[in-house]
């Protein structure tokens, strides 16, 4: 017999935890699947471990990270069933879910599903980015939180966005040496009109400026005049990074280069179902089309948090609770007036947080640099396909990523296109001079995470 559940939540980040906690409080049978070993998602990764074993690390990890401990505690205390180390590899429109845990796959039937799978970092294809010693900024932060690992020698951070400065500030606070921060693209002064709005309604900007001041006070070199032409140099591992700033070349020796160009919604699962998606031209990524409560066009399947649109951790939690309230209403677990009273609280908080978003989006416009990616730069890390290979496929007549995939193998490796999908589509769009909406995206099919043949064979 297939196991059934009222509400299945996929992802135990702020969105998923907040939703599950609230829904379980009101008596729904809730299960939460997450592929990590601990709850928290990306932002609150390992927050339980830190609180328990390394509380002094909060000193450099910061207050907003510590805030995750409370959310996590409430989630643990709730009656929501939590299945860590569990990968969701299939969601069907009829709301059957395929999961895999400890090498065993099984199916679960859910009455409602909330997808809260968060964000990914935007891929940053530069020459040499596949060398050992080149990692994403998010990766470095992940081991800082989960394992208290920090760069041994002076590190270079390159790119843009709030996360980059947050990690730099955390390094500074932890006494880690930073060789330089290379800020790509100019900070956009078009962001100014949004500033007042963001300033008045949130403390994001204040926090951001504080971070930058702390970094500068520590004497870190910040190269901020539109760094371009980043290259990771080295044979077996990275030895140096070269770039140009204001038209003149630069070079810094380093054993560790961290890259970041902002985050994008993780749409692997929603694309595989598929629910309807649309191109978000401001955040330059695909996102599911949602109503105000997070519902997709598929009955009973909703999305909350960054997988529905980049809005940050606090907004994710509110969005999760909004979706949970909608589910409670649908199950008849709360009456109309209660629903109305509760949802308005979440919505007001949500709106206040979203006020900062236009400012951040405008301050750090996502790069549209596909045309500038050199022909010999690898874009598909799995299959080692270069930008030039994609362009040649376009010359053969390909007009979309599914065609270039079949002609070049870009997107066919184990990451299933997560690391190359956007870049490939952007290269095609640039070459054909067409909008991204027309170019489209890979057709994503389950299993969205590799299962073994044996596991699938044993499926009942």
């Amino acid at each position: 017999m297939t196991e059934t559940v009222d509400l299945a939540v996929i992802g135990a980040g702020p969105a998923g935890m907040a939703a599950a906690t609230l829904a379980a409080e009101h008596g729904l049978d809730v299960v939460v699947y997450d592929d990590n070993a601990e709850p928290g998602g990306q932002i609150y990764r390992a927050v339980e471990t830190v609180a328990r074993d390394r509380a002094k690390d909060f000193a450099f990890l910061g207050e907003s990270y510590r805030a995750g401990a409370e959310l996590t505690r409430a989630f643990r205390a709730s009656r929501a069933r939590y299945e860590p180390g569990t990968t969701v590899w299939l969601v069907q429109k009829d709301r059957t879910i395929g999961i895999s845990r400890d090498g065993k796959a099984r199916m679960v039937a859910a009455k409602r599903i909330l997808i809260a799978t968060g964000a990914l970092e935007r891929p940053v294809p530069i020459p040499g980015w596949t060398l050992p010693g080149v990692m994403s900024v998010g990766a470095a932060q992940s081991v800082l939180k989960s394992a208290a690992l920090a760069p041994k020698q002076p590190v270079v951070l390159a790119g843009k966005g709030p996360l980059l400065f947050l990690v730099a500030a955390q390094y500074v606070a932890a006494g880690v040496k930073i060789a330089a921060i290379l800020e790509t693209g100019a900070r956009k002064w078009d962001a100014l009109p949004h500033l007042w709005q963001a300033w008045s309604k949130t403390n994001y900007i204040g926090k951001g400026l504080e971070l930058i001041r702390a970094i500068e006070r520590a004497g870190v070199t910040v190269v901020r005049n539109a760094v371009s032409d980043l290259k990771a140099i080295g044979r077996e591992r990275v030895e140096a990074v070269t770039f140009s700033a204001d038209g003149s070349p630069g070079r810094i020796e380093t054993a560790l280069l961290l890259l970041h160009e902002g985050v994008i919604s993780n749409v692997q699962l929603t694309m595989a179902i598929p629910v309807k998606h649309a191109w978000n031209a401001t955040q330059r990524c695909w996102q599911p089309v949602l109503d105000a409560r997070g519902n997709t066009d598929v009955d009973g399947i909703a999305v909350a948090g960054d997988s529905g649109g980049i809005a940050g951790a606090e907004a994710a939690a509110h969005m999760g609770r909004i979706a949970a309230l909608d589910a409670l209403r649908a199950f008849g677990r709360i009456d109309g007036p209660t629903f109305a009273a509760m949802i308005v609280v979440e919505e007001v908080a949500q709106k206040r947080l979203l006020a900062a978003r236009p400012f951040l989006d405008a301050l750090y416009p996502p790069p549209d640099t596909a045309a500038a990616i050199a022909d010999d730069t690898i874009v598909c890390r799995c299959e080692e396909v270069t930008a030039g290979d994609i362009r040649k496929a376009v010359d053969l007549g390909c007009t979309g990523p599914n065609q270039t995939k079949s002609f070049t193998r870009a997107g066919m490796g184990p990451c299933q296109g997560r690391m190359c999908g956007l870049t490939v589509a952007e290269i095609i769009a640039a070459k054909l001079n067409r909008p991204m909406e027309e170019i489209g995206y890979y057709r994503i099919r389950p299993p969205i995470k590799p299962l073994t043949v044996g596991e699938l064979a044993a499926l009942e």
Binding site: R54, G103, P132, V143, S146, P151, C415
Partner: protein, 97 residues
């Protein structure tokens, strides 16, 4: 490439390509690999180039390693356990045409 900010954490012992290494309880195999000094985890099937973990959040699949006899596991998604045997993945033998 990476160092531990403090050494007082509880540890387990694992082997990486047969070499005994201490790892902190609760950390991922990829974290233990980064702390070990040699971050390489595999050679690519296409060119044989060395790779190291890149994203540490289960996305890039660059961290595939053999863990306790099971090939192609994401080292960043597996928690270390006492006695765990971790191996770097060599380039697979190519097909003869």
């Amino acid at each position: 490439m990476f160092r531990r900010l403090h050494d007082n954490a509880a540890t387990v012992t694992i082997t990486i390509d047969g070499v005994t290494t201490k790892a902190a309880v609760g950390e991922s195999v990829a974290a233990a690999l980064l702390a070990s000094g040699d971050p390489r985890c595999r050679q690519t099937p296409v060119s044989g180039a060395p790779r190291a973990p890149y994203c540490l959040m289960g996305v890039c699949f660059d961290c595939l390693m053999e863990i306790d006899g099971e090939a192609s596991r994401q080292a960043c998604m597996v928690t270390v356990r006492e006695g765990m045997a971790v191996k770097r993945s060599p380039r697979p033998a190519p097909m003869t045409p």
